[in-house]
């Protein structure tokens, strides 16, 4: 059984404890973000179950919160991210409002895509959030173009963090993109969220190397293989990768080993307990990144129990309010379906 897979044998790890530079307020903010991600996920599953969300799938990220938080916390405001289906909270961490994200999920007129697309297929270039599609892997290659534009603008220091599942590392565009980035030393950080299953397919049937990070060797770039359920390890590794990339040394691959605690999406809950051993799921429940980080904070002696509520009630309220906002927001007008297909606003490039 692959349940004890932590797969850290070959991967590089950072020795530098960047997190020691964090203030108490940062440590608390990280705690709150972990909870934001958790509650976000729970609230959507609940809305789906209760029939309040009637369209689209919910791709859960329960158990993967440390990656969402740890990879975004050290970023500069002018860095880029390209979140995919299991990274919804990243949109908020990088500047979208919870209301915008919920409107996207509910397909409302005031959503970033104006109801045209669903879930994570959105972005906002002004916030450095690069739109991805359903086509797994494709954004890794697109990221190279975004970074090349920065090079043309004399901004070689802006980094792009591109997310992918371990399964999607089997696609052509993943390889072509990373190869291109490595050849041209682009500041691309590819975060592989190795939750050990691509839908029903275990990582062994997606990736032939011992770790996903081993793939980095083929591009001559650093490949880290880290504990994706330890938010500070994720944070530290991201800091190291950022230094490497910003200094012009090219891309970095970070494999965050974690586990998909739920089904592939909300429709997959029953099956996901059939194609995976239940003991494996239960084992990973115990590696939940939230209590782990809370334990760490308490040990620092900087926080009292009362300072670390589970969950923070104001975040529960914030997310609930965003959902209510989305539900009461107007649906898009039918004719707007024909808008945004071409941009005829100018004859010259912007």
């Amino acid at each position: 059984m692959g349940s004890t897979r932590t797969r850290r044998k070959n991967g590089q790890q950072t020795a530098i404890a960047y997190h020691e530079r964090l203030e108490k307020s940062d440590l608390l903010e990280i705690y709150r973000r972990l909870w934001f991600a958790r509650i976000f996920d729970e609230a959507l599953y609940d809305a789906k179950k209760k029939g309040r969300l009637r369209r689209g799938n919910v791709y859960g990220s329960r158990g993967q919160e440390a990656i969402q938080v740890g990879t975004t916390y050290p970023l500069r405001p002018d860095d880029f991210v390209s979140p995919i289906h299991r990274d919804m909270p990243v949109f908020v961490f990088r500047g979208m409002t919870p209301e915008q994200v919920m409107c996207q999920i509910w397909g409302k007129a005031n959503a970033p895509t104006r109801g045209k697309d669903s879930w994570s297929h959105m972005g906002d270039m002004s916030l450095g959030i690069v739109h991805s599609t359903s086509m797994l892997g494709s954004t890794i290659a697109v990221a190279c173009g975004v970074l090349w534009a920065q090079r043309l603008d004399g901004r070689r220091d802006r980094v792009l963090v591109a997310y992918t599942g371990e399964g999607a590392t089997a696609t052509g565009p993943f390889h072509e993109g990373l190869n291109f980035a490595a050849v041209h030393k682009l500041p691309l950080i590819v975060v592989v969220e190795n939750n050990q299953y691509a839908y029903s397919t275990p990582v062994e049937l997606e990736v032939p190397t011992e770790t996903v990070a081993d793939r980095a060797k083929g591009y001559g770039i650093p490949g880290y293989c880290i504990d994706g359920n330890d938010v500070l390890e994720v944070y530290n590794t991201t800091c190291a990768a950022l230094e490497h990339a910003r200094a012009g040394n090219g891309p970095v691959l970070i494999e965050c080993v974690t586990y998909r605690l739920q089904g592939h999406a909300d429709h997959d809950e029953t099956r996901a307990r059939q194609y995976r051993p239940v003991e494996e799921i239960e084992l990973w429940e115990k590696r939940d990144p939230l209590p782990r980080y809370r334990q760490y904070l308490l040990k620092t002696g900087l926080f009292s129990e009362a300072e670390l509520p589970e969950p923070p009630p104001d975040i529960v309220e914030q997310i609930q309010k965003a959902i209510e906002y989305a539900i009461s927001s107007p649906d898009p007008e039918p004719h707007t379906a024909l808008e945004d297909i071409y941009d005829e606003s100018a004859g010259v490039s912007r």
């Binding site: 359903s134 797994l136 297909i341």
Partner: protein
């Protein structure tokens, strides 16, 4: 006869062909141990084993390429796209590799593959889980394109597609998978629906409706509604989109003199354009009215319900168009 869903008809066709011919195999994502995202290959892995039921990494290029390479070496691969939209990653394999192989081998090496998967809208699948771009492959020499509407056809056409010596792109409308049930012949009958033959699903006298896929059901519903108004539709289900069965279409056109072409893909450059052109080329003097197309608007399939409804053709659209055509 067996009463089955549309999905089960496809499953049984593949199953029986794999039983009949050890050269047939299936390849795709999550198709083995899980039995496929929609369950079209459920039970295959246990029965046929891992060499003939291949769980592939997320690599559409490789999935199709493996089927193609194996076909060149004498096998018959069925490649599942988890959603047919993802065939875009394997486009080159279908168009440039599979499509041309016979041609560039001096007729020596046929490529008998089926690339199949769920297509189409009406389920809130949004941009990348709703597409119907059969026109891409309709435009490709060397490739056949099939889209059934009923379980018996899905069953017979899938068998024919597997036995056919050419690359076949097989569209399975996901809206029909579990909604549509019907009787299919028993395995012992070795029932086949030959590729390239349309079927008249409803006889009528006023207007010929040429359609395929989920739109057949819409057209039949429209026909039922219009019957009460005294407008009689003849509904032709193409079943195979390429090669086109012009004979059946022209025969009907000569009878009704009015043509409505219904398809779910964006109107511009769609299959309907070719059908319309051929009818005007071959039966212009039989026409009493301009040929009319009901199709999706020239947009992507959007997510929000009011948007999706606006873009995709509806039964109402067919009814209105047919009324106008009848009055012409």
């Amino acid at each position: 006869m067996r009463e089955v869903t549309f999905l089960e008809a496809i499953r049984l066709a593949m199953w029986e062909e794999m039983e009949r011919d050890p050269n047939v195999f299936v390849i795709g994502e999550d198709i083995g141990r899980m039995g496929g995202a929609f369950g079209v290959t459920s039970g295959f892995f246990e029965h046929f084993g891992e060499d003939r039921v291949i769980d592939s990494p997320i690599s559409e290029t490789a999935i199709i390429a493996v089927a193609v390479g194996a076909a060149a070496a004498g096998k018959r691969g069925i490649a599942e796209m988890q959603f047919i939209d993802f065939i875009s990653y394997g486009f080159d394999q279908v168009v440039n590799v599979a499509g041309t192989w016979l041609y560039r081998s001096g007729g020596k090496t046929p490529i008998p593959i089926v690339v199949r998967g769920p297509s189409g809208g009406y389920v809130g699948g949004s941009l990348y889980h709703s597409q119907q771009f059969e026109a891409w492959f309709f435009h490709t020499p060397g490739v056949k394109v099939v889209q059934p509407a009923f379980p018996d056809d899905a069953y017979g056409l899938m068998k024919a597609a597997i036995r056919d010596n050419n690359p076949v792109v097989f569209y399975e409308h996901k809206y029909l998978y579990r909604r549509i049930k019907g009787a299919i012949p028993d395995a012992s009958e070795d029932y086949i629906v030959r590729l390239g033959e349309a079927r008249i699903r409803r006889y009528g006298s006023d207007i010929t409706v040429v359609t395929y896929g989920a739109m057949v059901h819409f057209a039949l519903e429209a026909a039922q509604r219009l019957e009460k108004e005294g407008i009689s539709l003849e509904v032709i289900d193409l079943r195979t989109i390429k090669p086109l069965d012009m004979e059946t279409i022209l025969e009907s056109v000569c009878k009704t003199s009015k043509v409505l072409i219904v398809y779910e893909a964006p109107k511009t450059g769609g299959v309907g354009a070719e059908i319309s052109a051929r009818i005007t080329e071959q039966a212009f003097e039989w026409l009493d009215a301009p040929i009319v197309r009901v199709a999706a608007k020239d947009a992507f399939v959007p997510f929000a319900e009011p948007l999706e409804k606006f873009v995709l053709p509806s039964v109402d659209d067919i009814v209105f168009a047919a009324r106008e055509l009848a009055a012409y």
